[in-house]
């Protein structure tokens, strides 16, 4: 934590090295959270960049966090995605190809491994907003249950329940698709 406090102090001075370190550390986790929420590579990349632009604005306006960055970035990412969804309600989403890089490997031939991101997106769309949020945090940001609960202001039990129901729904839908 002291390192992050120092890093944030340097970031407030808009030091290139500190900002580059923040981008390097958080770009991928934030992207993975967002891509689970929007399920589109290009949009997720654009929205991830937007999170970092908002960080700069906050640093300029002295509203950036003083002690911890991760939770703050998540909060911004959450709002950026919601803003995106609100805009999407107003216009039909442009269909983009869903080719996405994946770390998928290994001998286990699971249902999920056979699915494409198009199917994941389709499956995710039937989840509730809270369920999508939990899946994005758990599998996008690889956040422990305790941290997810803290961020969402829920009990750990409630988060576990949301996760269980979300994955059960995904499994059922994906099985039907395969």
């Amino acid at each position: 934590m002291p390192d992050e406090i120092t890093l944030l102090a340097r970031a407030r001075a808009l030091e290139d090295e500190a900002l580059a370190e923040i981008h390097e550390t958080y770009y991928e986790p934030i992207f993975r959270y967002i891509v689970f929420r929007v399920s589109n590579q290009q949009i997720a990349e654009d929205l991830t960049s937007e999170v970092f632009v908002r960080l700069l604005s906050a640093l300029r306006d002295h509203t950036a966090p003083q002690n911890t960055l991760r939770g703050w970035l998540y909060g911004v990412a959450f709002r950026v995605v919601n803003d995106h969804h609100r805009k999407q309600y107003r216009r039909e989403e442009v269909k983009l190809t869903d080719t996405i890089a994946s770390n998928s490997h290994g001998p286990l031939e699971t249902v999920a491994q056979q699915m494409s991101w198009r199917e994941v997106r389709a499956a995710m769309s039937v989840l509730t907003e809270a369920q999508r949020e939990v899946i994005a945090l758990r599998f996008g940001q690889e956040m422990p249950i305790r941290d997810v609960a803290q961020l969402l202001g829920k009990t750990e039990g409630a988060v576990k329940q949301l996760q269980a129901r979300a994955i059960a729904s995904l499994a059922r839908i994906l099985k039907e698709m395969v």
């Binding site: 808009l14 900002l19 981008h23 990349e45 960049s49 599998f139 269980a164 994955i167």
Partner: protein, 240 residues
């Protein structure tokens, strides 16, 4: 979904999170294995299906982020410089004004009272004249004429003082021309000597107001210039 199955899914997912593999977990919950398998496989697949951003997007984002940071840094620098400049200018103005105010107070408190009795040639005489000019400038319009009369009296008094104390120097005063003689005019109660160098402006006439600029020397008033500023007042006889 019944609550027993839901609790089992929660427990099974926790086990998966701890690193147990799917088969091990299914062995622990054989009664729910058929329902649990696709759920656990989906969870394992999601964890393994870790989407990554493209290298190009990541690099572009970094470039844009740092470029925007540079722009903000420059903007902040310009604002700080401008602010400092404005502050500095304001501060200079404030200090100048404060210094001037202090000087005025000092002049008022220290110099003005002693300067009241100054006559030409005294160090404080310019202060006395300066204060008079300022008072005349600041006085309401209806009071200006009275002040001018008061200061004319003061000029006359100064010339008397110079004669009395034997002070040599230039002086000026205004008074009524009471008598005209070949080599001297009586202006007010002061006799001004006239020589070839004396400049006379206007038509001298007893009763006229004259502005005299003189040199006081050896207790005598030598006129350098005499200017008729007002003709004598003419009395119109009343109709019989």
């Amino acid at each position: 979904m019944d609550s027993a199955l839901e609790n089992t899914i929660v427990d099974a997912l926790e086990a998966l999170d701890r690193g147990e593999n799917v088969e091990q977990i299914l062995d622990r919950f054989p009664q729910h294995a058929p329902a649990l398998r696709p759920i656990l496989e989906t969870a394992a697949g999601l964890a393994d299906l870790s989407p990554l951003p493209s290298t190009e997007a990541r690099s572009l984002s970094r470039q844009q982020f740092l470029a925007e940071a540079r722009r903000l840094r420059e903007e902040s620098f310009r604002e700080t410089s401008h602010h400092d400049g404005s502050t500095s200018l304001l501060r200079r103005f404030y200090y100048s004004f404060a210094s001037f105010a202090v000087l005025l107070v000092l002049l008022g408190v220290i110099l003005v009272p002693p300067s009241a009795g100054a006559i030409p040639g005294d160090i404080l005489y310019p202060v006395k004249r300066g204060v008079e000019t300022l008072r005349l400038y600041l006085a309401p319009q209806e009071e200006k004429e009275a002040l001018r009369g008061q200061y004319e009296e003061e000029r006359n008094h100064e010339v008397y003082e110079m004669i009395e104390v034997g002070r040599d120097g230039s002086a000026g005063y205004v008074g009524m021309l009471k008598a005209i003689q070949p080599h001297q005019w009586e202006i007010g109660n002061i006799t001004a000597l006239i020589n070839d160098s004396t400049v006379i402006r206007g038509e001298p006439e007893v009763g006229a107001r004259v502005e005299a600029h003189c040199l006081v020397k050896d207790r005598q008033v030598i006129a350098e210039s005499l200017t008729i500023i007002d003709p004598p007042m003419t009395l119109t006889p009343a109709n019989p």
